[in-house]
Subunit: 108 residues, 2 copies
């Protein structure tokens, strides 16, 4: 039987609770995929080469507002990153790991 | 023209950089969707009612390893949370906001 969120938090050390608190408040940089690609110093052509698709596919992908998690994961891994799926609640955040199986195909 | 990642970081205050560092190191609780639902004190039936689907749809959804971002977002919002998509790199993390448009249909 699963435990309640509050019980899970109580099991954390005070240091871990403090870190979680800071983390909840910290502001991450926020940007769309095309800006992230540019911030990583990559062109659409470079990313297309890594993913073995044509450049227009990257352009199209960067304009999408919905896609499969696996597609997004490949795209982010091609930039050298890791996709994280987080569910944020007023009392804490949880990383969802249903989709971790898909992370095998890392691209250098 | 987009700025480089390192330049973006330099623009952050020392406090913000320290927070980002702590955040990068902090361990979030990690679990699959069904455990998250239980940790929120929700049954499949309750979630099905919020999403106006049948209970077996929830069971099926919780076993999936890939899905559309919009589907996952609805599911997490039905639990009272917010979906965050994060790309984590060795030198920092970025929240992807291509998909923010979809967050309009919050479920109480």
């Amino acid at each position: 039987m699963a435990k309640k969120f509050s019980e899970l938090r109580q099991q954390m050390s005070p240091e871990a609770q403090a870190r979680a608190e800071v983390q909840a408040q910290a502001m991450l940089a926020e940007m769309p995929l095309n800006e992230l690609r540019q911030a990583r110093g990559l062109s659409q052509k470079m990313l297309a080469d890594v993913l073995r698709v044509q450049q227009p596919s990257i352009a199209k992908m960067e304009r999408r507002t919905d896609m499969y998690l696996s597609t997004l994961r490949s795209h982010i891994e091609a930039m050298g990153g890791q996709l994280e799926i987080v569910a944020r609640f007023p009392d804490g955040a949880v990383k969802i790991n249903n989709f971790a199986d898909l992370s095998g195909k890392a691209v250098a």
